[in-house]
C-alpha cells in the first residue's frame, strides 16, 4: 500500500520555483517607472513574497489529498478478512442460515409443532354376498326343523321320496315351485319349515320377518301374483321380489342373493342390494353407489372362492396424521414422523442449534477468560491451582458424562425446556478449560511487554489492568477460537440430540430431526427427512470453521497478504 501520491510529489518543486519567477518579472517591468511607483512596487513585492510563502505552505500542507493514508489495525484485519474469498463464502452461508432460522420461523405459515392430517383411503370390508346355491331353511318356530331333518330332506328330494323320517318324526313335503318346498310334519296341516333358494329380507330394519309373512311372500312370488294378503293387509309384489304395503312403502323383498353387512349397525338398503346384485351378475369388479343421504362411495367387489361368495370392500377415508409425506407445494420438504412440516421444523431446529451454540460458547468464554486471566496475571500458587483445575476438566471425558446425565434426565422425565437449559449449562461448564489455557498463555507473554510495565507505572487497579489492557490483546485469538468452538458445540449438541439425549420433542433441533434415520426404513425411503437437516448442519459448521479460519489468517500480522 503506497501512501503518498507520486503525482503530487513530482509537481511540488515546479510550483515552488514558479512563483518567485513571476515576482521577478513584475520587478523588471517596473524598473523604469517613477519613484511614485516604488510604493506600489513594495506592495507588489510584499504581495509576491506573500504569494510565494503561500505556495510554499501549500506544497507541504496536509490537505486530504496529500495526507498519509493509514489504516487502523482493526481496519487492516477487516480488509484482510474481506479479501479472503473462502471466508466470505462462509460468512454468506452463515448469514443465510441465520436468516433461515430466525426469520424463516417467523415467515413460515406453519408452527413448530403444528400437526398436519390427511385423509387416507382404506378399503374396509363392508358387506358379504353369497348366492344361494344351497337350499336355505326358514323355520316356523325355533328348532322346528333341525339340521338332521334338513339332511334327510335333501336325500329324500334327490331320491324322489315323498316322505322322510328324522328322529321319529315323519315329514312330507310339497313343491311349490322348483325353488320352494314347503315341509310339513305328516299329520300337521301348516308347514313347519320352508326350504328355498330365495332369501326374504326386511327392507326397513335388520329385524327378522315373521315366518307366516315370509311364507306368504314366497308363495305369492312362486305363483307370480301381483299382490297378496297377509293378516288382513294387502301387499303388492313386483317381479324383482319387492314387497310394498298399501302406501307403496317397501317392507320386504325376496332375492337369491343373501347380502349381509359386516358391521351389525349398518343397514343395507334394498336399492343398494339390488344394484349390488346387478353388478355381481354383470361380473363387475367395482361399483359406485349413492345412498339416500347423497353420500357416494366406491366399492370393490372381490370374489371369495372359499366361501363361494363375494366380499364388498368400501373405501372409507380416515383422518390420519400426515406422516412422512413427500415434498409438495404445501410442504416443501414433506412432513416428518409426527406429521409436522419439515421445512418449518428445520427453521426452528436451526434456531435451537444456533441458540444453544451461542449460549454455550458465551458461558465457556466467560468462565475461561475470567479464570485464565486471573491465572495468567497472578501467577504463583493461584496460577498453579487454576491450572490444575483446568487439567482436571481437561481430563473429564465430557461426551460420556453428558450421555450419562442425558440418560438420567430421560429416566427422570425432565421437562424438555428445562432440559435444554441444563444441556447448555453442562456443555459450557465442561468446555471452558481450553479457553482458559489459551487466555493464560497469551497473558503470560503479554505481561512481560513494555506497555504492561507502563500500565503498572500509572498505578491503575489490577482488575482494570487485566480487563482494559490485557484482555483486549487476547481478543483476536479468543474470537478465532470462539468461532471454531461454535461449530464444534453445534456438532456436539446435534450428536447428543441424534442419540436422543439432547434436545427433546416437541422442540426441534437439527440433530433430533436426523434422529429418525435410526429407523432403517426412513434411511432407505425418506431422504427428505434427514438429508436437508444434515446439509444445514454441515454447512453451518463448515461456515463457522471457514470464518474462523479466515479470521485467524486476518488477525495474523505475519500473513503474507
Amino acid at each position: 500500500m503506497s501512501i503518498l501520491d507520486s503525482h503530487n510529489e513530482d509537481e511540488r518543486p515546479l510550483r515552488v520555483q514558479n512563483v518567485p519567477q513571476a515576482a521577478l518579472n513584475t520587478h523588471e517591468r517596473n524598473r523604469a517607472e517613477a519613484e511614485a511607483d516604488k510604493m506600489q512596487n513594495a506592495v507588489d513585492e510584499a504581495l509576491a513574497q506573500d504569494a510565494s510563502a503561500m505556495a510554499d505552505t501549500e506544497g507541504y500542507s496536509l490537505n486530504d489529498d496529500r495526507r498519509v493514508k493509514t489504516l487502523s489495525p482493526t481496519m487492516l484485519v477487516i480488509k484482510r478478512f474481506l479479501r479472503n474469498r473462502v471466508a466470505m463464502v462462509g460468512l454468506f452461508i452463515l448469514a443465510f442460515m441465520f436468516l433461515f432460522s430466525f426469520l424463516g420461523g417467523v415467515l413460515s405459515p406453519y408452527g413448530e409443532a403444528q400437526l398436519f392430517y390427511r385423509n387416507d383411503d382404506q378399503n374396509k370390508p363392508f358387506a358379504g354376498v353369497t348366492e344361494n346355491t344351497d337350499l336355505r331353511y326358514i323355520e316356523g318356530s325355533a328348532n322346528s326343523f333341525p339340521s338332521l331333518a334338513r339332511a334327510k330332506f335333501t336325500q329324500a328330494l334327490k331320491a324322489g321320496d315323498a316322505t322322510f323320517e328324522s328322529k321319529g318324526v315323519t315329514y312330507r313335503y310339497e313343491s311349490l315351485d322348483e325353488d320352494i318346498y314347503l315341509i310339513y310334519e305328516v299329520q300337521a296341516s301348516g308347514p313347519c319349515a320352508v326350504a328355498t333358494y330365495e332369501t326374504v329380507s326386511n327392507s326397513q330394519s335388520n329385524d327378522k320377518l315373521p315366518f307366516g309373512f315370509q311364507l306368504a311372500i314366497l308363495e305369492a312370488q312362486a305363483a307370480k301374483q301381483a299382490s297378496f294378503e297377509y293378516e288382513g293387509v294387502t301387499y303388492a309384489i313386483d317381479e324383482h321380489g319387492a314387497v310394498m304395503d298399501a302406501s307403496g312403502t317397501e317392507v320386504a323383498y325376496a332375492s337369491r342373493y343373501s347380502i349381509r353387512a359386516v358391521m351389525g349397525d349398518v343397514f343395507l338398503s334394498r336399492q343398494f342390494k339390488e344394484e349390488l346384485a346387478e353388478a355381481i351378475e354383470a361380473g363387475e369388479k367395482v361399483f359406485t353407489f349413492t345412498d339416500v343421504d347423497g353420500t357416494t362411495a366406491d366399492y370393490t367387489i372381490t370374489m371369495d372362492t372359499g366361501k363361494a361368495g363375494w366380499t364388498i370392500l368400501r373405501s372409507t377415508s380416515t383422518r390420519v396424521f400426515d406422516t412422512y409425506s413427500s415434498p409438495s407445494a404445501e410442504h416443501w420438504l414433506g412432513t416428518d414422523r409426527n406429521g409436522m412440516d419439515m421445512l418449518t421444523r428445520l427453521m426452528y431446529g436451526g434456531r435451537v442449534s444456533l441458540y444453544i451454540g451461542f449460549v454455550v460458547v458465551i458461558i465457556e468464554t466467560v468462565i475461561g477468560v475470567i479464570l485464565g486471566g486471573i491465572s495468567g496475571y497472578c501467577g504463583g500458587w493461584v496460577d498453579n491451582l487454576i491450572m490444575r483445575i483446568v487439567d482436571v476438566f481437561y481430563c473429564i471425558p465430557s461426551m460420556p458424562i453428558i450421555i450419562i446425565l442425558g440418560a438420567a434426565m430421560d429416566a427422570m422425565r425432565v421437562d424438555p425446556q428445562v432440559r435444554m437449559l441444563y444441556l447448555m449449562l453442562l456443555l459450557g461448564f465442561l468446555g471452558w478449560a481450553g479457553i482458559a489455557r489459551l487466555v493464560r498463555g497469551q497473558i503470560l507473554s503479554l505481561r512481560e511487554q513494555e506497555f504492561m510495565v507502563a500500565a503498572e507505572a500509572t498505578g491503575i487497579r489490577a482488575s482494570r489492568r487485566i480487563f482494559k489492557h490485557l484482555i483486549p490483546n487476547v481478543i483476536p485469538q479468543l474470537i478465532v477460537s470462539m468461532t471454531m468452538a461454535l461449530g464444534s458445540t453445534i456438532i456436539t449438541e446435534a450428536t447428543l440430540s441424534f442419540l436422543g439425549l439432547g434436545v427433546k420433542f416437541p422442540f426441534a433441533s437439527w440433530g433430533n430431526i436426523i434422529n429418525d434415520v435410526n429407523d432403517t426404513f426412513v434411511l432407505t425411503n425418506y431422504w427428505f427427512i434427514w438429508i436437508p437437516a444434515g446439509i444445514c448442519l454441515l454447512s453451518t459448521v463448515l461456515a463457522f470453521n471457514l470464518v474462523g479460519d479466515g479470521l485467524r489468517d486476518a488477525f495474523d500480522p505475519k500473513m503474507k497478504r
Binding site: V86, R388, D391, V392, Y394, C395, I396, P397, M399, P400, I401, I403, I404, L405, A407, A408, A411, M412, G487, I491, A494, T495, F498, L499, L501, G511, I514, V517, T520, L523, T524, W527, W530, G534, L537, L538, V541, L542, F544, N545, L546, D549, K558, K560, R561
Partner: protein
Amino acid sequence: MRKFIIKRILISVVILIFVAFIIYVLMRCLPTSYLEQIAREKSMQPGSKSYDEWMAQLSATYGMDKGIVPGFFAWCGKAIRGDFGDSWKWTVPVTEKFADSVWISFIMGAISFFFEIIIAIPLGIIAATKQYTKVDYTITIIALACFSFPTFFFASLLKLVFSVHLHWFDLGGLIGRHYEQLDAMGKFLDRANHLVMPIVTLVVISIGALMRYTRTNMLEVLNADYIRTARAKGLSENKVIYHHAFRNTLIPLVTMLGGSLPGLFAGALITETLFSIPGIGFVSYQSMVAGDIPFSMFYLVFMAILTLLGNLISDILYAVVDPRVRIA
C-alpha cells in the same frame, strides 16, 4: 529428564484421583441407575417386597450403601488392585467385558490412524507449499468439510450409498449372517468387510484436523529464516521442502500424534454405536445409558487415564524429537 517425568506422573496421579472423585460423586448422585430399574421391576412382581426394601438389599449387595466419600475410597482401594467390580448390565466382571471389547476398537483405531496419517500429512504439506493457490483452497475446504461433518450424518450417508443402494456392506454389526458357515479366511474377510464403513467414517472425520495442523506448522517453518537461507544457497525446492522444512514440521506432528496414541484404545463411541460394532465405545454407551455404574465408572476413569497418558507422551516426545528442548 527422569525428574521431569516422575514429577509429571505424580501430578497426573493427583489429577486422576480428583477426576475419579468427581466422576464418582456424579455417578452416585444420579437419581436413577440400573439398580433402581431392577428394584422397580422386582417390586412389580406379585407378592414381592416393596421397592424400598429391594433398593436397600441391592445397594447393600453392590456396595452402594456407603456414604459417597467412604464409598469412593473403597472403590479406589479395589481399583488399584485391578478389581473394578462386576458390571450390572453385562453380569460379568468389568475388566472381562473390557478385555472382550477393547481389541476390536483398537484395531479399528489403529487402521484409521494409519490411513489418517498417510492421507492427511502429504495433503497438508502440499497445501502449505502451494499456499493461496487453487490446490491450497481445495485442500483447505476439503479439510474443513471433513472436520465439520457430523459423524452420524456422514455415517448415514455412507449407509445409504453403500449398504442400501450398492449392497456392498451390511448396515451394521461386526459379523454377517453366514459367519458361522465360513472358513477361517472367510471369517476374517467377513469381519474386514464389516469394518470398512466404520473405518472410512473415522478416517474422514479425523483427517481434517491433522491436515490443518500439518499445514499450519509447515507454513510456520516455511516462513523461517533458515528456509530463506536454504533457498538462497540455491538448493532445489524439493530439498528445501522435504529435507529442511518437513523435518522441522515433524517436531509438532510427532508430538501430537504420539499424544494421540493412547486414544486408540478409547474406542469411537459414536461411530461404533452407529454401526453396532461391539467395541469398547458401543459397549460403554449401552452401559452408560442403562445406568451401569461399575462399568461407566471404569470407562470414564480409563478415558481420563488415556488423556493423561497422551499428554505425558507428547511432552516427553517433544523433548526427545527436538534436540533444542531441554527439560529441567
